[in-house]
Assembly symmetry: C2
Homo-oligomer: 484 residues x 2
Amino acid sequence: MENWLTKRAKLDPNKTALIIEHSDFTFSELNSTVQLCAKKLYNHIHKGERAALFISNSFNGYIAILALQQIGAEIVFLNSRLSSDELKFQLNDSGAKLCLVDDSSDYHQINKVNTNKIFLSDILSMQPNHDYQPVAEFDNNDVTSIMYTSGTSGRPKGVLQTFGNHFYSAIGTSLNLGINDKDSWVLTVPLFHISGFSIMMRSLIYGIPVYLITNFNEEYINKVLVNERATVISLVPTMLKRLLNNLPTDKHYNKYFKCVFLGGGPIDNWTLLRCNMLHIPVIQSYGMTETASNVVALNFADAERKVGSSGKALFPVNLRINHADSDGIGDIEIKAPNVAKGYLNKQSLFNKKITDDGFYKTGDIGYLDDENFLYVKGRKDDMIISGGENIYPEEVENIYSKLSGLESIFVIGVQNEEWGEIPVAYVTLDKDAFLSGVDLIGFGREKMAHYKVPKEFRLIKEVPRTASGKVLRRKFKDIEYEKM
Amino acid sequence: MENWLTKRAKLDPNKTALIIEHSDFTFSELNSTVQLCAKKLYNHIHKGERAALFISNSFNGYIAILALQQIGAEIVFLNSRLSSDELKFQLNDSGAKLCLVDDSSDYHQINKVNTNKIFLSDILSMQPNHDYQPVAEFDNNDVTSIMYTSGTSGRPKGVLQTFGNHFYSAIGTSLNLGINDKDSWVLTVPLFHISGFSIMMRSLIYGIPVYLITNFNEEYINKVLVNERATVISLVPTMLKRLLNNLPTDKHYNKYFKCVFLGGGPIDNWTLLRCNMLHIPVIQSYGMTETASNVVALNFADAERKVGSSGKALFPVNLRINHADSDGIGDIEIKAPNVAKGYLNKQSLFNKKITDDGFYKTGDIGYLDDENFLYVKGRKDDMIISGGENIYPEEVENIYSKLSGLESIFVIGVQNEEWGEIPVAYVTLDKDAFLSGVDLIGFGREKMAHYKVPKEFRLIKEVPRTASGKVLRRKFKDIEYEKM
């Protein structure tokens, strides 16, 4: 296919491409700005080389991403919340020739790393290189982005995402949501995540504007959703709750608003009920870095009827449950043109996740109901087997999430001579809340099968997380706790 | 990708897939019907084999197409208006193992051909073959349909269309028109043409209903467009004019109606003006059998502003004008994932149409204005478009060359209000030979599809030629003749 940016600038030169605070840019203006940036960067980086990006959700960051793509360089997206050691590892592992640093953001961690840095604010004063030409084509098989994913164990792995991955991902979503040229997408998730970058690619492929939100300010975002013609916003559950809490009772989202596109784990029923009352459709979805964003999503017709489900596998996606138990619960496996090409420098590790007949083993477990709706039970590695019964920590945690006073709860399997493993809960409480172990066990026994109820509750001060905010379940065993 | 029909039946089992007269079929019902038909046909045809189809726009024809696709057989679409000689050639050339014949249609031409025929009405009584399984996947690189196109010279060529061709064609159109799950498409163009078959594929890919029109009855079609929630209809100019002439002045198309999707040559301004007054948006487009339907189309925003243009190259399509003259007019060349794989048995001929850098030479000439809108000037070689059908003068001339008494014949397109163009023949006779216009029309009707037969024969004294002896086709219109 023709280069998506130059193609879109030809198709819709005068259409708005990007809205950031009080500035609008058409596709033609966006293209010119990107090409000028690429022309300058071309002094330092060429087609087929690899460049790392340390950016926040800024205009300069947005332009830098597109400029590298125009040059034909592979973009290594760095999570701006990583420690300097983690950044060092990813820069070394990727062999990035240079690292573009967004100096409008907090860059002290990357500053500690000894690498070839270019500050985005310095690009402006560079001389344009007149040998530069944007790539003529985006080849479906070519890698355009590399994103590191920690997984639950071992070193982070660089996921190789191709143009084809992003194209089929975008098409699967447009076929599901019925996107048209009057739509627009609010981008407040990080640009360096697949959730954010995929919105940029959709903007080029669909020809729709992006509202780029530079920092998560509930009041500002609600104003955009109320006053502007913003039709879709990608959110994770925490963000959605913050928006709802901030929305004045006499306001509602603009009449063209289509949906909250929700990723990043399950949402509680109470929040869904609030959205329902406010006429805010919520489209739940399921996806990962390795599938270049979502592969499963609900649609409008079923959103209410199938609460708790992530939806159906999108049109280009073949999904199956393998090694299912007698309840139909088993490994979620996916075959689709949006499954990534592999892991950088660790192709054999990636190949191990591909079955003989070409399905990608997501590492998640779940089941399909009799109408082909997917219900995700959690990570296979997190599953607890106690006395021959499978316990899914997320299921237990979701039930406890409705209990007031409990700030967070994580259920872990602990070795036990009699049962093999037993479920144990690590909890943090709301300020001034008081809950005893007896209370917690009592609550659980009312709500679920007894074997699922944690045998012990352990009060902790802080939840161990990765830089990107993922909970590090294996770390719980080493932290200090107080028996409840 | 997963098999499109079984996938769509999983995604939208209860959604309407097909409406024909007073019957509705959901995707689940359509799938069941098709699978049963395939199970029976499997006694006669297998994956990888080739089957010809001689059908009209009937329910049985619709099912037969999908059944062959489910088996994984390559479908050879026969134009039901061809003569028996033409049919014989295509059946031989394609090596079709059998020919499915729609016996609800006029099948006397195919009946004259000695081939392995199965009548669609006989399938019902066949025993199902329990070894049958629908193909699990539709591979983008696999051929699914073969359609013959005559070209400007020589014998017709079988165009090899892959699943990928049809997929990218559908996606290009949905990105342009912003199709969503509330849309539906009225199918009144022939199923055996790419214009009709592509609507079937879009239905599976988008998950939208098709209104299948079994014969072109203006009154009935207008009723569908007025009373039903029909949003798009594909038409050629002649059809559009007939609908407009029939539409009662107090009626208008239903409020969800989106557009007439117009192919098959240029439309006059007067008709466009009428559509405009009646609030019927017209989306002009440009495409061919070799590109699996349209590659260029107008969009809603520009439809009025750019009258006379076919629009812009769709998102997956790279289009350029090569060898342009000083006015910018030159060869229309296309690079896109919807360009066909080749010509059956004539790959070297197809390869000659591909430039060194991978562009397909359409054989059409035209230009792009400064906003990248395409204006098609016509066939490089004088093709005639009459009522949406392509007529290649040299093909007709070749057939007549066998008639004794005729010294020479040249077929030219003449402007006609009803058909766009009609073929008219300029002839010279052998000394002392006598042939009347009636004789010549009678001969033609025996040998070729009726639309190809010149509507008028004009006797001339001398053929206009260049000094070097080349025939000057454009000069015919100016010379003296005697009506035969």
